[in-house]
């Protein structure tokens, strides 16, 4: 009995192994060429764009999508992914373009320089800047708070239940570039970094504070539509110098001003035709991006409606992006 059982399981294993070989033996399957199962069946040309979680990124994608669909006759899929996985997806060809990148030197080296699977797409035209901000209503009452050296004086005012006995420095999504923990330590500040865990949570909290005119100190970034709703003033950190942030443990300076970059899948950049040419030329200003972002976030228009409105009002700008 035991014998037959063993033979049977051996036969089963052999069968399984055979099935597996049969399944996989029929040729190589390229992991870099797999379309989404939802991609249009009608044989139309499709472009896939990655959207990051902040509204500015949504604005870029919405306008690009609108123009690709209405002017160049493409179908556009969008996928929401965090920044670092987006690079991965770009190199695999799961998405064709990232329209707003805040600087990922490690990824640039690996995918552009070493593997050559990603190509640069040029400037977006918007300059990004990360910093520490206090609400303007508080900065007006206490003008000296905008110098980091005076922050300790106000630690008690920024205290919350979460921050223990220290002042609270509100940080956001785990996907964002941040040196705040090192900064607090190296500048020897009496603060505790509290991670909101997502941008949605951070915005909601900032608006609650603002509604009550409470003081707060928060990691935040420009361009961002929330400045229109909650005016904020930047706290000056020790000035940024090139290279002062190379060692993440020893950072003691402000964040740089970053011209935001576009990146394309290398294969798409070469063979993407009109769509690739258009995405390379896409370049607008901070005000324009905020205009669209605010329509999405504040007026609760769908990204496509917001893009349609902007496109209607700014023909001169986007005409020059179209391939001639």
């Amino acid at each position: 009995m035991a014998r037959t059982r063993r033979t049977r399981s051996a036969a089963l294993a052999a069968g399984l192994a055979f099935a597996l070989t049969a399944l996989t033996g029929c040729g190589a399957a390229d992991m870099t060429r797999q379309a989404s199962p939802y991609a249009d069946a009608g044989g139309s040309r499709t472009v896939t764009l990655s959207v990051q979680s902040w509204v500015g990124a949504q604005a870029n994608v919405a306008v690009a999508q609108y123009l690709l669909e209405h002017e160049l006759d493409y179908r556009v899929d969008t996928v929401q992914i965090d920044e670092v996985p987006a690079w991965d997806a770009l190199s695999q060809g799961r998405v064709d373009a990232i329209l707003e990148d805040w600087g990922h030197p490690e990824q640039e080296k690996r995918y552009i320089d070493d593997k050559g699977t990603i190509a640069r797409g040029g400037d977006l035209g918007v300059t990004g800047h990360i910093g520490w901000f206090v609400p303007t209503y508080f900065a007006e009452e206490h003008p000296d708070v905008t110098d980091w050296k005076n922050l300790d004086k106000y630690a008690a005012e920024f205290r919350t239940a979460e921050s223990g006995g220290k002042g609270q420095l509100l940080d956001g999504s785990p996907s964002y570039v941040t040196n705040d923990k090192a900064l607090v330590k190296n500048l020897d500040l009496d603060y505790q970094v509290v991670f909101a865990g997502s941008e949605a949570a951070q915005i909601t909290q900032i608006r609650q504070f603002a509604k009550e005119k409470k003081p707060f100190l928060s990691y935040w970034y420009k361009p961002q539509w929330l400045f229109e709703k909650v005016p904020m003033t930047e706290v000056e950190l020790p000035a940024y110098e090139k290279g002062c942030d190379t060692d993440p443990q020893k950072v003691a300076c402000a964040y740089p001003h970053t011209p935001l970059q576009k990146f394309l899948n290398a294969r798409f950049a070469d063979g993407g035709g009109d769509a690739a040419a258009f995405l390379k030329k896409f370049r607008w200003t901070t005000e324009m991006q905020n205009d669209v972002a605010l329509m999405i976030a504040e007026e609760k228009l769908s990204p496509q409606e917001a893009a349609a409105r902007w496109v209607e009002r700014n023909e001169a700008t986007w005409r020059s992006w179209l391939p001639s």
């Binding site: 379309a35 239940a161 909101a196 609760k300």
Partner: protein
């Protein structure tokens, strides 16, 4: 009561028989003094610990840094993904098969058109579960269209069909193996346990590394999550098959396979169908989490709505998920109840009619060129919902006379409950934590469960995340306490008043199936950023299961006992405290256990609203593609889950391995 929507089904072990004592005399005497014995040993260990180990956190010398190897693994995968044979000849094909199947289902759904899909759903529900559910199904699909979510709903449905089919197949095979072989059963149990406590966020990352962003990764992550209940219930069904029937089949000379096909499997039909039902529920629960890795569909809509802090839009995408869950749950549950009934007359004819009508409707809409849901037929709920949320947060957040605002409560909860609990746990010497875990597990379980619990707790220290793990533990304990207070009170009330029970049921369904991402913003708007909203989210998620289990337990109390208490003149209060609650003790213990497991499942969501600790690390790992941080946090959450489960798992596990699941 029908099957619940409980995402993590109570492990079927609770149906086990009471243990019988076959031990020789001396051991039995020892067993009688077990409690005292444990106490003496613990006291002894306490003294020894103080003398030899001293106080303080987990010692650095006892921890292992696994980040190096993990980073190398991750680099290797990224560098070889496009060329290595393992990917070209295996993962690539797996990925292709998933894409092709999802696409096939999606195209069929689109070809049927909205009218065809709705008709098919209604007619299927009619044949399986009767007229009432047919109407419910039709209405549910219509609402999905009305909310402007038709296409995402179809995408999610296509993904669900493939994921559930794969889960049922995989789970069924595992269950079959475990049901037929005791050794497989013993091997598989810890594997299934781990699969169920594993936070979905922790294994999204490795899956994405291998398969890349998109549908294949989403389907595979869903299968990991949804297959265990199917496996457990299949094994349970096979093991519980009526011995008499199997015996009879054997005596008639049936071979092993014949016995399986003609006696054991048919007898296990109910469990198999319950397994399918649970797999569907789990898979739907995963729909939104999978959107984080690009699964598309409804989950993606919820996730994108979050980016613009738009609760209304998130709700519009969340409601179809709830409706799908309710319809699928009720239909499969009804099918389960009908099993064993004699088939009605002309059943075949009715099936034929149903199929014909579906085809006719689909063809009709195609001829009229009305396949897509008409744009004019949509209702915008986002606006009003956002206004309601704004009003709530504007008026409840602070400054409510007498009771204070929700922000104040959150502050007090953090200051007076969470902080002392966390600081206390982190202050304890590491060895005393292990000791406590061991003693608690021993008091409620066996030497084996105690060993598992202690080893799991030690593993957390070895992984180097002792402090954050205790922080998470403090949040879980606080949230569980609140959940139990509210849940048992509500459950008892629901058991004593049928009307309340009826009112509560749909509300519980909604809370249990609503994607947690939807209430992320409201909890922050009410409680601010921090650990308090994380606890609130956990309570919302875990409460329904606790209420259900409590209500069921109290209701199931022997009416005879209650009757005799009443005849002795016991008041309502006395009946409850002295008869119903003590008799419902097993159910209450199960409620505690489920409360703990479910609260822990939301830890990661807590990381998204400022809960910090392990939940934040798991999210961080995924967002930064940092395998080391993400996997270590995930592993620590699994270990915490094992500890808490073993410490709260009542008698069920005590029986010999042969019986139960």
């Amino acid at each position: 009561m029908t099957t619940t929507l409980t995402p993590a089904p109570p492990s079927p072990a609770t149906t086990a028989t009471p243990p019988t004592d076959h031990r020789p005399g001396a051991l039995r005497t020892l067993a009688h003094h077990r409690g005292r014995l444990i106490g003496v040993c613990a006291a002894l260990a306490l003294v020894l610990g103080c003398v030899f180990l001293g106080a303080g956190n987990w010692p650095a010398s006892l921890s292992a840094d696994v980040s190096g190897p993990l980073e190398r693994t991750s680099d290797w995968i990224v560098d070889n993904r496009d060329g290595h044979p393992l990917f070209l000849y295996f993962f690539g094909h797996v990925s292709n098969i998933v894409v092709v199947s999802v696409r096939a289902v999606y195209l069929v759904l689109l070809a049927l058109g909205w009218a065809g899909v709705t008709a098919a759903a209604a007619l299927l529900a009619w044949r399986v579960a009767g007229v009432r559910l047919a109407l419910t199904s039709a209405a549910a699909f219509a609402v999905c269209g009305l909310l402007g979510m038709w296409v995402p709903t179809m995408q999610t449905l296509a993904l669900m069909v493939v994921a559930v089919a794969a889960s049922v197949l995989l789970g069924g095979l595992l269950g079959l193996a475990a049901g037929l072989s005791d050794r497989m059963h013993r091997i598989l149990r810890p594997v299934l346990d781990t699969m169920q406590v594993l936070p979905a966020f922790a294994y999204l990352l490795p899956v994405v590394l291998v398969f890349g962003i998109g549908v294949p990764a989403a389907v595979l992550a869903t299968v990991v999550y949804a297959a265990p209940p199917m496996a457990r219930l299949t094994a349970l069904g096979l093991r519980d098959a009526d011995a008499g029937v199997v015996e009879a089949a054997t005596s008639l000379g049936a071979t092993g396979r014949q016995r399986l096909l003609t006696a054991r499997l048919p007898l296990a039909r109910k469990e198999l169908l319950l397994g399918v039902n649970q797999s569907i529920m789990m898979a739907l629960g995963m729909a939104v989490i999978a959107s984080v890795i690009g699964a598309g569909g409804l989950g993606d809509r919820v996730y994108q709505a979050l980016a613009s802090v738009d609760v209304g839009a998130a709700l519009a995408a969340g409601v179809p998920i709830v409706l799908l869950a309710i319809v699928l749950d009720r239909v499969t549950a009804a099918a389960g109840e009908r099993i064993g009934e004699a088939p009605a007359d002309r059943s075949g004819l009715r099936w034929a009619v149903a199929a014909l009508v579906t085809v006719a409707v689909a063809a009709g809409t195609r001829l009229l060129d009305r396949l897509a849901w008409p744009d004019a037929w949509t209702v915008d709920i986002a606006g009003p919902v956002n206004k309601t949320v704004d009003w709530m947060t504007a008026h409840l957040y602070s400054g409510v006379p007498l009771v204070g605002g929700t922000a104040d409560w959150a502050g007090h909860f953090t200051t007076w409950v969470l902080n002392p609990l966390r600081d206390g746990l982190q202050w304890l010497p590491w060895w005393s934590v292990l000791l406590t875990v061991g003693v608690l597990a021993l008091l409620i379980g066996t030497w084996r469960t105690a060993a598992t619990a202690v080893l799991a707790m030690a593993a957390i220290g070895v992984l180097g995340v002792w402090d954050p793990a205790l922080d998470t533990l403090s949040q879980v304990l606080a949230a569980v306490a609140v959940t139990l207070l509210l849940g048992i009170a509500l459950g008892v009330a629901a058991a004593r008043s049928t009307r309340l029970g009826r009112v509560l049921r749909p509300a519980l369904d909604v809370f249990q199936t609503m994607p947690q991402f939807v209430y992320l913003i409201p909890v922050v708007a009410l409680f601010g950023v921090g650990r308090a909203p994380a606890a609130a989210a956990a309570v919302v998620y875990a409460l329904p299961a606790v209420v259900r289990i409590t209500a069921q337990g109290v209701r199931a109390v022997d009416p005879g006992a209650l009757e005799s208490a009443r005849s002795l003149g016991a008041t309502g209060r006395q009946q409850l405290l002295q008869v119903q609650l003590p008799l419902a003790r097993p159910a209450l213990l199960l409620a505690v256990n489920q409360g703990v497991v479910l609260v822990l499942a939301v830890v990661v969501i807590g990381g998204l609203v400022g809960g910090g600790a392990l939940g934040y690390d798991a999210v961080f790992g995924l967002a930064q593609g940092d395998l080391a941080t993400g996997l270590v946090a995930g592993a620590a959450i699994v270990c915490l889950g094992l500890v808490l489960d073993r410490v709260t798992q009542p008698t069920g596990r005590r029986n010999p391995a042969g019986k139960g699941a």
